[in-house]
Amino acid sequence: MLSQKTKDTLLGPLNTNNPVVVQILGICSALAVTVQLKPALVMGIAVTIIVAMSNVIVSLIRNTIPMRVRIIVQLVVVAALVTLVSEVLKAFAYDVAMQLSVYLGLIITNCILMGRLEAFAMTNKPWDSLLDGLGNGLGYALILVIVAFFRELLGAGQLLGFQVIPQGFYDFGYENNGMMLMPAMALILVGCVIWAHRAYNDKEAK
């Protein structure tokens, strides 16, 4: 159904070319919003939408952009989209917008966006750029969700706000790991994910 190239563009970033664990982009926000699953999911979705849309827009106008100010034009496109998304969230999902607070605005500084625009959208057709944006956004979201899953589970004993570790465990002296709530632990978890990812892919390659 999809040609090999299309498949690579869309699915590559989920695994072999993952923006977070392979290209090591967008780490800062991965640390900030992964204390709980819900904001991580919303952040992942928001970034996916913004990368995909800005990729398409920049790809559409790529031949008209003056080379000397191309980064500025890309930035304006991204900033406009981020502002739009944050306005829409404030109107339709106020709680989530409050929870993401400053990190929503900071999507602008997420290196994945500028990285994809500069490396892909500037030289590729809109359809491919859309797939590339979706792939990279989802690749980013995937890592966020994995990290948030462990942080919320081990740090608060909850998933998506629901208690999953039974009270009985606590009665026997089990305690939530407060370390998991600190950003430093997210970095260590991202490191673990990179480790597991490399180990798995090395084995595949052999």
């Binding site: 709980q36 008209t64 003056p66 000397r68 100010v69 739009l84 607070s101």
Partner: protein, 219 residues
């Protein structure tokens, strides 16, 4: 038609057009979504006030519940820049005082519900902009807020002294206290300072008038 995309004129014209288009799109979005956003903000405030009054609005429209407890605009007392909401809860009067202060990373705020004696804390609700999740952010949790219930903001002589938030083991002089959140010293003392500032300094007029009224008559 083919422009030289590297010429100065092209670059300047191009940038101008891009910025103007973006400005129009954003202004339009802002104008269209503003009513919805304002509604959300108001609803959020009402929910917080209901939280301070310990009203359970599960399964009901919080706006309607709010309107039934704080029915009209005249139920808002103004003291300079400060406002006090008068709530009618099961035939009793409760005063709700909005609070603002500083936490560790940003602003904190809340609503303090007082009994009619303007002394006993009926309930309290806190919010924050960006306190550390799992530490300072715990001020919004019911476990922390419950500590305030039943505490008195006045000392035995009737002076307003606020309630202190202190590490367990420490004792406050001449005022009642609640335990701070362990690991969140700065946020906890931010709450303590906020309560003190607001009650002792900013709401002095509201809290004082009552004493005069007591002596004279109810009108």
């Amino acid at each position: 038609m083919k422009f030289n995309t590297n010429s100065n004129v092209y670059t300047i014209v191009y940038s101008t057009i891009v910025v103007v288009i973006v400005a129009i799109v954003l202004a339009f979005a802002n104008q269209t979504l503003k009513p919805l956003q304002d509604k959300n903000e108001l609803l959020d405030k009402q929910k917080q006030i209901l939280g301070a009054l310990k009203v359970d609005y599960k399964g009901q429209d919080p706006a309607l519940v709010y309107a039934s407890i704080i029915p009209a605009a005249e139920d808002t007392l103004h003291f300079g820049e400060k406002e006090v909401y008068v709530a009618h809860l099961d035939g009793q009067i409760k005063y709700v005082l909005p609070l603002t202060g500083k936490g560790l990373w940003g602003g904190i705020g809340g609503y303090l519900a007082l009994d009619e004696d303007k002394n006993t804390i009926y309930g309290v609700n806190f919010n924050h902009e960006g306190e550390t999740p799992g530490l300072g952010a715990k001020i919004v949790d019911i476990e922390f807020r419950e500590l305030f219930e039943g505490k008195h903001i006045r000392n035995a002589e009737g002076e307003v002294v606020s309630v202190a938030v202190l590490k367990s083991g420490k004792r406050a002089e001449g005022q009642e206290q609640v335990d701070a959140i362990s690991g969140a010293t700065i946020t906890s003392s931010g709450v303590s300072t906020m309560l003190h500032e607001e009650l002792v300094n900013n709401y002095v007029e509201f809290l004082k008038i009552e004493e005069v009224q007591d002596v004279e008559s109810e009108d």
